[in-house]
Symmetry: C2
Subunit: 334 residues, 2 copies
């Protein structure tokens, strides 16, 4: 049975169901716009661990265990876990998975990893390879800042285009059967790189990839933007969001009425996050904490969730390379 | 249709077919045991590029394009590409994919990534989500050495347990239909970490994960080791290989007669690679250059290909964490 439609889109034959989600966040995110929606807030960014990295790994383990325990089932009922994070060699995921001990597939799409894990995980479920899987991602302001930019102690001034990496983690359990919103269609992104080299201007770097995936999703699925109650991108921030609207407008696609970026949903203006939130947890917190509940309560019934990722490293930056970007999309519907 | 068998194994309903492979390697690999089997050898480790990283990325792009062109088809006939590498944020893969321009899924399982990409890619093909996909991985001695261990210029003395990261890249095209060996079963690994902290002793770190996956594969599939003409692990080297044999022997499983490690297949003894080869390209070169041809020519008909990965980072090492390891397996049969 051919489940590919159009050029880069797949339609799940038996649309997998999202049974539960869980979200944990740091204190700054707790004071943000969605603070009350998360299952748990940390008192500080280290949570009694030896390092920020261990705190990040702890969060990822916690959300996966919590999303599973909300269903009243044992971890052994989860066939596989798909996860990823921003840290070199995905150490947050690997140390969390070491403790959980389930079969594991590591994915990397930078901040698009949550959407990528839902897309690939749904293929495993729909293809009959699993009954229940869990997906999860994490990010942490302090681990990301010192890995991708400058030592945190330096206190480097941040330009207005910069975004604030979200400290938090989100997860979801996806299954063949059950009650809940269903993942119906996935669009696999291509690498798009229009030459932006500044890791403090990631929204502008990622916007062309987001626009490309949204355009191809709509073309492949023969849907127009109005089909969706909302289209969400992952972490473009205020500047990238406006550029995405413009780029699609150039192709005669108007998403202004029903589009928001998760990077604009996390922090209040006065929290000084500059252009908005970024990091794997930007889209994962918005989805696991807020969007999923809106779908469950049928306040929304059809959304397009577009994970967006900047795929550079500190090495590629130092070697003066531009930033390759990608966006993966999943349609989630009641 | 339930395609899961046992605890962590999937059986492909319509076993996907490996249509072609391609392999490229550096000069030291060219002088090694399999040197004559590769499609192309580089004259040196930089190949006229600005950096070793760009050379690695070039190799990955080259093998994917070559595996596809061997079939006489256009790159546009490849639905998606699944790839990964050892470099932070998978930059080798991302820059290669930027040029190739096909829909792309990034995976990370360290040196198990080639097996992981075959396992996940086969699920996409078998599930009806794609007709043809390409998978590929790369590694490079000089990029890996300076990222994971010491600046190459330091000339740090290597202990006898250390392995030599393979400079090379391998790829495969996997499809629904066609002539060629078929991927019949996949076993998804769990993280295993018995406390080894030394990144110069990776074979010993990975052996328990390899033994765990081989054991669970045999249990889940109800096969005994003798079912396979050969069982190959990815890059355990001489020391890890012996430990894997021992660990399985403790469980009353004897693989001594039909088992080899790809890390022992790349270099001659006198090439001074110490415990053997490592890196994503260890298993990818052995498979794409040699094992695939053996299957095509029916000199072997049933193999178990077990990718093995050390999932540490330089950060986790400096934070005195032990090395989490994983192994993913695919059975490939005529």
């Amino acid at each position: 049975m051919n489940k590919k439609i159009g050029k880069q889109t797949i339609k799940y034959g038996n649309a997998p169901c999202i049974l539960s989600t869980a979200a944990i966040a740091g204190p700054m995110e707790g004071q943000g716009k969605l603070g009350k929606e998360f299952d748990r807030l940390l008192d500080d960014n280290i949570n009694g661990e030896d390092s920020w990295e261990k705190c990040e790994s702890y969060m990822l383990g916690w959300v996966i265990k919590t999303a599973v325990s909300k269903l009243g089932i044992a971890m052994e009922e989860i066939d596989y876990i798909l996860a990823g994070d921003l840290l070199n060699q995905l150490i947050s995921s690997h140390f969390a998975m070491r403790e959980i001990g389930r079969p594991f597939l590591g994915l990397y799409g930078a901040c698009s990893t949550f959407a990528e894990s839902m897309l690939v995980g749904s293929a495993l479920v729909d293809g009959g390879f699993a009954e229940k899987i869990a997906v999860g991602v994490s990010s942490h302001h302090d681990t990301a800042e010192r890995q991708f930019r400058f030592p945190t102690e330096l206190g480097v001034q941040r330009p207005p285009t910069s975004q604030w990496t979200v400290t938090g983690s989100g997860s979801a359990v996806i299954a063949t059967y059950g009650a809940g919103p269903r993942i119906t269609i996935g669009t696999i992104g291509k690498i798009v790189d229009l030459g932006i080299k500044d890791p403090n201007n990631m929204g502008v770097a990622m916007a062309p990839a987001a626009a490309d995936t949204i355009y191809n999703h709509l073309t492949d699925s023969k849907r127009d933007p109005g089909y969706y109650d909302m289209i969400y991108t992952g972490d473009l921030g205020a500047i990238g969001k406006e550029l995405t609207i413009e780029l699609l407008s150039d192709k005669a696609i108007d998403i202004r009425k029903n589009y928001e970026d998760c990077g604009c949903m996390i922090y209040h203006e006065e929290q000084d996050a500059h252009a908005g939130a970024s990091g794997c947890a930007s889209s994962a917190l918005a989805f696991s904490g807020y969007i999923f509940k809106q779908l469950q309560q049928r306040k929304m019934n059809r959304i397009l969730f577009v994970g967006t990722g900047c795929l550079h490293s500190s090495t590629s930056y130092q070697q003066k390379e531009s930033i390759p970007c990608i966006a993966h999309a999943v349609a989630i519907e009641n």
